[in-house]
Amino acid sequence: MGYIVRRFLSTLPVMAVVAVVVFLLIHLSPGDPAALIAGDLATTEDIDKLRAALGLNLPLWQQFGLWIGKIFTGDLGTSIFTQVPVTQLLGQRLEPTVSIAALTMLITLVTAVPLGTLAAYFAGTWIDRLVMLFAVLAFSVPVFLIGYLLVYTFAVQLPWFPVQGYVNFSEGPGAWLRALVLPCVNLALVYIALVTRMTRATVLEVLHEDYIRTARAKGLGVLPVLGHALRNAAIPIATTIGAGIALLIGGVVVTETVFAIPGVGRLVIDSVQRHDYPVIQSVLLLSAGVYVLINLLIDLSYRLFDPRIQY
């Protein structure tokens, strides 16, 4: 318990540094939201007035203080452009991203771990080569290209799934799932490739251990032997999957764009393009928080796989 508290407290300075860096990076980069809002035909006078109205003419330290002060009261600010509270924007965007992340990870887990284990068990055979060929292809072909191919094949030619859009879970699990299949398969291919390779490598290493030889010598069947191997190979696999989840939360931009899913990834990109400071700052800070939290959970999960680990 003490370890968990210590680890949790150690994240606070990290978050403080992230807050300062994110704020400075965004505010010191070129670009002016007021100029964008005012439009193409605005005069410099109009833009200056708008900057003043938005508080963008205040010194940077003052803007930072105002932002941080609000964060401590649970107020993430208001979008400069839409005048919509950031919490509301995030609320709208979180469900699609979490849905994509969860389903993608589920597809990855049920596919990649068995595939990697299979490849390791049959290392050097045609099965191994086939699995590795798939992994290399899935990892090498750009996500947007696979996305277009999926859309063309399974949405335009074979109208099984919608081309674009997201359906909230509350509107029906069937429609929700149907809208998510293509984007999740698209995104999962990369993670399947990654986790398959990691699983193969770690399982292969474990399969050469003495205790596996002993288990085989005692006459254990294939599945129990693989069970032993997998449990001991689980830590690096869990680490890869955990890092994958963290990346997924913040990095589904291409998939969200190709399939027009209104998720957090696109919110970040749109906000960066128009320099919507309150949105970018809050989303990046939250993403960093999620990343730190997931890392903590992965560390804690190690004990599940290996009871010898003591904190």
């Binding site: 193409d40 605005a42 007035k49 081309v163 764009t257």
Partner: protein, 526 residues
């Protein structure tokens, strides 16, 4: 037998009972539109962004509106009068007009809205400059008093783009003008559904039950805007390929601005119809505060080198959607189309341009060109500009940045080597280009604050004279004189005219009634 009869009767009763239920469950008639941009600002009198302008025409109405021929027609106004000297105007609102919240539209609402608009808009400011004073004399009548005649009163009240004078409730119109309005209450054909708005993804409108339509058929933005659509959804699909796939599949009905690369492939699809989305012109905007473009002769040299068709071809528009050459600053085909002053520059001539540049005394100063990286057609236009400038010997420093950075940097008056700039490219739609006053880039009043800072006293005098003139023949003379002077002073360079394209499901009804240049979707049916 009895049992059968009873069963039949029961079945009949059940079917009869289910009829109203079926009628109630008829899905609403929804038009799904891929909007050209993501809606961010809900206030069309706060930004000149076209998406906010389009939003304005969905939910608000105007006193007058341009018809399909470009003429102002009464819209919220029932009748109007003007004095012989053109200084006194009276407007009476149509009876029964209501805002979407059910409140009656009064002349006080109109006066407050027009005062808010006049503080921002170029035409509004020009009217204020001749002493425009608005007054509500009774619930339905408002008057306008001017110190001197103004040739564009009705054009101003019917202005379709770049701050259209939409009518808001007085209480909203009187809110401080420093920030965009967020409450949306209008008397237009649709109601904005704020609870369904997902910025960056979807904007939803439903039919306004309080909309009072005119009896005339729709024409441009004028006439009846009564719609059979229950609901319109604007979807923001940033990936062009996804938008086209969704249209092919029938998931969306209409793409407001089709990426040029998809025009040719979609023309072969019988389920899709491609149409004109209005005329646009490309602009080369030069900073006239610093060398070399502070010298009009250098600007003329660059103008001489510009091959308009190559610019619009590079932007990807097919042959039939681009013009080989357009002489006017005011959109070819518009009521103000004129070729006055253009003759010396009609044919792009690099050799002549080189000589003109040398004669202008160009000393090899670096020319900072801002190249946008995130808007494909502007990127192509900027690369053509770089090539054209290099071809005549200008020392080009092409600096790539995103549009937001260009927006910030172009407002800087600093020297180009101190964070300023020399030239950038943009485009403008017909309604923002088609007259000396709507075209803000032709405003050459010295000391103005529009990026580029053109300064030419004669050009500005001609612009003001044209604005005030009320006799059509004299206005035409002044227009020609204005453009002739513009070709001498070169406030900016027209880099070619093209037509944007929309794509729609061919099964949509009313596509032929839509007004090019403005998505007047209320005329559509499905």
């Amino acid at each position: 037998m009895k049992r059968r009869t009873l069963a039949a009767l029961a079945a009949l009763a059940l079917s009869a009972a289910s009829l109203p239920a079926l009628a109630q469950t008829t899905p609403p008639k929804t038009l799904k539109v891929v909007a050209h941009a993501d809606l961010k600002i809900l206030d069309p009198t706060f930004t000149t962004a076209y998406i906010s302008r389009n939003f304005g025409h969905m939910v608000y109405d105007t006193l007058f509106a341009q018809d399909a021929t470009g003429k102002p027609q009464p819209q919220m106004v029932e009748k109007y009068t003007t004095s012989k000297d053109g200084k006194q105007w009276s407007f009476t609102l149509r009876p029964g007009l209501k805002f979407s919240d059910g409140a009656a539209v009064t002349s006080a609402d109109a006066v407050a809205s027009l005062q808010r608009w006049a503080a921002r808009d170029s035409l509004g400011r020009a009217m204020t400059g001749v002493g425009a004073e608005w007054k509500a004399t009774d619930a339905r009548t408002l008057t306008l008093t001017l110190n001197e005649p103004f040739g564009m009163v009705l054009d101003a009240l019917a202005k379709p783009s770049g701050f259209p004078p939409v009518i808001l409730p007085e209480r909203i119109a009187k809110l401080p003008a420093a920030s965009p309005l967020t409450e949306v209450v209008g008397s237009g054909p649709f109601i904005f559904k704020r609870d369904e708005w997902v910025p960056g993804n979807k904007t939803v409108f439903v039919r306004n039950p309080n909309y009072v339509a005119r009896s005339e058929p729709p024409s441009g933005l004028a006439g009846s805007k009564k719609t059979t659509l229950d609901r319109v959804e604007w979807l923001y699909l940033p990936d062009a390929n996804s938008a086209v796939s969704a249209l092919k599949r029938g998931e969306v009905d209409y793409i407001e601005q089709l990426a040029p690369d998809y025009i040719a492939p979609l023309r072969t699809d019988s389920n899709i119809k491609i149409g004109s989305g209005g005329a646009y012109q490309g602009f080369l905007v030069m900073n006239q505060l610093h060398a070399p473009f502070d010298n009009p002769k250098v600007r003329q040299a660059l103008l001489q080198a510009v091959n308009q068709e190559r610019f619009v071809a590079a932007m990807g528009f097919p042959l039939d959607m681009r013009m080989a050459y357009c002489a006017t600053y005011f959109i070819c085909g518009s009521p103000n189309d004129t070729s006055a002053g253009a003759e010396p520059f009609r044919k792009a001539d690099v050799a002549k341009a080189k000589k003109m540049l040398a004669d202008a005394g160009y000393k090899g100063e670096k020319v900072v060109l801002m190249v946008p990286s995130d808007v494909p057609y502007l990127n192509a236009e900027a690369l053509m500009a770089a090539q054209t400038m290099k071809s005549i010997g200008l020392n080009v420093d092409a600096q790539t940045m995103d549009w937001a950075s260009i927006g910030a940097r172009r407002a800087k008056r600093d020297a180009p080597d101190a964070g300023g700039w020399n030239i950038y490219v943009t485009v403008a739609g017909e309604f923002d280009v088609n007259s000396p006053i709507s075209n803000a880039y032709l405003g050459a009043a010295c000391g103005n604050t529009l990026p580029g800072w053109p300064c030419d006293k004669k050009l500005d005098e001609l612009r003001t004279a044209w604005l005030k003139e009320t006799v059509p023949a004299k206005r035409k003379e002044l227009l020609d004189a204005f453009q002739t002077r513009a070709y001498e002073a070169v406030p900016y360079i027209n880099a070619g005219q093209y037509s944007a394209a929309f794509a729609a499901r061919a099964s949509l009804k009313g596509l032929d009634k839509m007004w090019a240049g403005m998505p007047t979707v209320w005329v559509l049916d499905k």
